[in-house]
Symmetry: C2
Subunit: 432 residues, 2 copies
Amino acid sequence: MKIVFKNALVVTMNETMDILKSCDVLVENDRIAAMGALSPEQMDKAKVIDATGKLLMPGLINGHNHAPMTLLRNFADDMNLQTWLFEHIFPAEDKFTGEDVYWATLLGIMEMLASGTTCFVDMYFFMDEMVKAVAESGIRAQLSRGVTCNDAGPDFSQDKKLNESIDFYKKWHGAADGRVMGAFAPHAIYTCSGNYIRAIRDAAEKYNAPIHVHVDETRVEHEDALKNYGKTPVKYLYDLGLFDLRTIAAHCVWVTPEDRLLLKEKGVSMVHNPSSNLKLASGVAPVAQALEEGLNVMLGTDGPSSNNNLNMFEEIHLAALIHKGSALDPLLVNAGEALRMATVNGARGIGREDLGVIRPGNKADLIMLDLEKPHFKPLHNPVSALAYSSQGADVCMTMVDGRILYDHGSFPTLDREKIFYQIDKACARIFS
Amino acid sequence: MKIVFKNALVVTMNETMDILKSCDVLVENDRIAAMGALSPEQMDKAKVIDATGKLLMPGLINGHNHAPMTLLRNFADDMNLQTWLFEHIFPAEDKFTGEDVYWATLLGIMEMLASGTTCFVDMYFFMDEMVKAVAESGIRAQLSRGVTCNDAGPDFSQDKKLNESIDFYKKWHGAADGRVMGAFAPHAIYTCSGNYIRAIRDAAEKYNAPIHVHVDETRVEHEDALKNYGKTPVKYLYDLGLFDLRTIAAHCVWVTPEDRLLLKEKGVSMVHNPSSNLKLASGVAPVAQALEEGLNVMLGTDGPSSNNNLNMFEEIHLAALIHKGSALDPLLVNAGEALRMATVNGARGIGREDLGVIRPGNKADLIMLDLEKPHFKPLHNPVSALAYSSQGADVCMTMVDGRILYDHGSFPTLDREKIFYQIDKACARIFS
C-alpha cells in the first residue's frame, strides 16, 4: 500500500525545524518511505493525494489524558476542585460500565482524530474496553490502569488493582500491531501509599514497563507532602525509586528548581496541561524554566471533564501564550517550542524515536491542515501560524500507521452516528 | 424578506441566560421578529432554515481590533515589544497603501464572519477604505481614525489627523444602513500629548461621538504616567475629561482599584484582550475584579499581528481560563461571564441595546453553530460547551442585519479567491 502526498508544505519538526515547500511525501504501508522529488518508480501504483495548499506535519501526541471522561464533559464546571471531584465526578464515575468506557473512549478518539492527535497517553479503568476502542479505531495509545490504594502493605501480591495492572500489561502491551503500548500508573501520592507505589514500581520494573503518574498538580498536594513526608512530591517519588523507570509525570505545576534537577537526572518527562491547570486553578507550571534546563516537556489535554475538550491545538496555543503573559517575558516558550512539546517531546516521552518527526523510516503518523483559510493568510511563518492562528478544525486528514482515520469530516474506521447514539444512551442512564 | 430558523437550541444571552430548546426564530428584514412556536401566518413566505442539531446565539462583538493588520499576521513573533513594534511593525505599516488596507480589512472580515463575529470595534488609518470593506461585506463596525501626535498645541485647528478624524466621523457615521458607526480615537497617552487628547475629546463632544483609546496596556505605560504626570493613565485621562464621553478603553491591564472606581463612575467600558496581553507579555488584566465591581468588560482580539487571529471563541476560552489559573481560584470568570463579555457587554460598550441578545425587536445579528461534532457530545451544558469546548470553526452560519454573510464555508458577499490573491500581491510588494 503506497500513498503519496503531492506538493505539500511540510513542517518536519526535525532538529533544525526544516520546512519544505512543494514537497512530496511517500508513505509505504505504515512508514514514511521517502520525501522530496519522487521518481516514477517510487510513485508507481501509489494513491496520490493532492496536498497543494495543505500543510503536512507529524501527528500530535497527547501526553496526558483520561479519554473516557468525555461522558462528563461540561457536566460540572466553574466550581471548587473538591466539590467538583467528590460531589460530581466520582459519584458519576461510580456508575460507569465497561461498555460506557468503550463508547466514551471512541468519542474521545473521534475528537482527537478530528483535531490532529495520532497518539495519546491515558490512565483509566475498564482497560480491556479502552484497548478495544484503540484497536478498532486505528489510533495509537499508551494505556495504563490508573490505580489508587492507601493500604499499608507491605504484601500486595493479592491486591486486585495491582494484579489488574500486571494482567493488563501482559495481555495488551504491543497489541494492535504495536499501536497499544502499556504502562503502570500509580495515580498520585495522595491516592496511593508509599508501599503501594513501591509495589507498582517493582511490578513495572519486572516487565520493563514505563510509568504514568500525576505529580505535584496542586499547591495542596505540594504542601501536604512537605507536611507528611518532609519532602516535595518529586523527592518523595524519587526516593521511592519510581523515577528509575521511564516515567511520564503529569502536571508538575509546583515543582521546585531542585525537583527539576531530580527529574532531569532520571530523564522523567513532565507533561504540561495548560487548559486543565488553568481551569481547575492549579496554577501555571514552570515550563519555560524546565525547557531551558533541558527537561523533556510534553503537552497534554488532561481528561475532557477538566478541559473540556481534547483539542491539542488549543494546548499548543495556550503553551505559547500563558508563560509569556504570566512572567511578563515575550521571549518565553516560542511557537516552535510549543509545537515540539506536542510532537517530538511527546514521542520521546513514550520512548518512540520513530514518531513526532517527518523523516524517512519513521512511522506514518501524519496530519494535514487546510491552509486555504483566512486565518492562514498571509503565511509569513508556518510555525507561528500553527501555534498562534490555527484551530484543531483546520486538520483535514489524520493518518496513523499509514492508514487514514480522518478525512475531511469523515471517520473511515468509526460509526459516528452510532457513537453519538450510545453516548446519549449512557448519559441517560448515568445522569438519570 | 423573512427567514425562519426552525428547531434551534437558542442561547439567548438575556439577563436570565435563558436557553430555549427546539425553538423557532423568525427574522424579518434586519430584525428578530418572533421566537418560540410560530403561527402559519408568521411562517408565510418565509425561507426556512433547518436548525436541528444547531445552536443559535447572538453574533459576537469584537471590542478591540486593528483588522488591516492581517497583513502582518505571523510576520514577527516571539520578540520584545519594542523590537517588534519599531523594527518590524511600524516600518511595514509605513508601506501600506489605501488599497492594501481595503483588501486586508476584507481578509479580516472573512475571518471574523467565519468564526462568528458580527460586529467589531477598530481604529486604524485609510478609513475610507475600511468603510468600503465594511459596507461591501455587510458586517457591522465601530470605526475610528487612530491618531497620534505629540505637539504641544494648544491650537490644533489645522491639525491634519484631527481634521481627518472629524471628516471621517461626519462623512461615515451611520453609513451602510447604520452598520458603520464612527468614533474618535486618540491612540494612547504615550503617543498623544495631553493637549491633543483634549482637542480630540472636544471635537468628539461637538459631534456627540464616542471614544476608543488604548489605556494602561503595559507596566511601562503605567510607570511612565506615574513618573511624568504623578498619576495613573486612567486618572490622567479622567482629568483630561476624556471619560465624560462614552469610552471604550482597550486593555486596562494595570489599572488599580482606584482607577476602576473612576472607570465605573464614568461608565467607561474596558476591553479585555487576553491573547494579545499574554503574547506581548503585557500581563493579565484584573477582569474578575472589574466584573465583580460592576464594570462593563468587553472582549477583543486586538490586531491580528499581536494575536495572531481574529477568532473570538479563543478569546472567550482564554477569558474563562486565565483568571482562574493566575489567581488560583476556580470560581473566577465563569463560562457565562466570558460569553457575556463577547455579546451583551460588547453591545453595551458601543451603545447598542438592540445587539448582543436574541429577543424580538433586536437586530438579527445571529450565528449558528453545528453541534453534531464530537467535542459537543454529550451536551450537558451549552454555555460551558461554548466557553470550554467550542472552536470558531464550529460556526456554520453568520447573519448581520438579517443577511447571511457566511454559510458553511462560503461568503455570499465576498470574493474569497480575489481577496487571497490581492493579499499575496500586497505582501509581495510590502515585504520585497
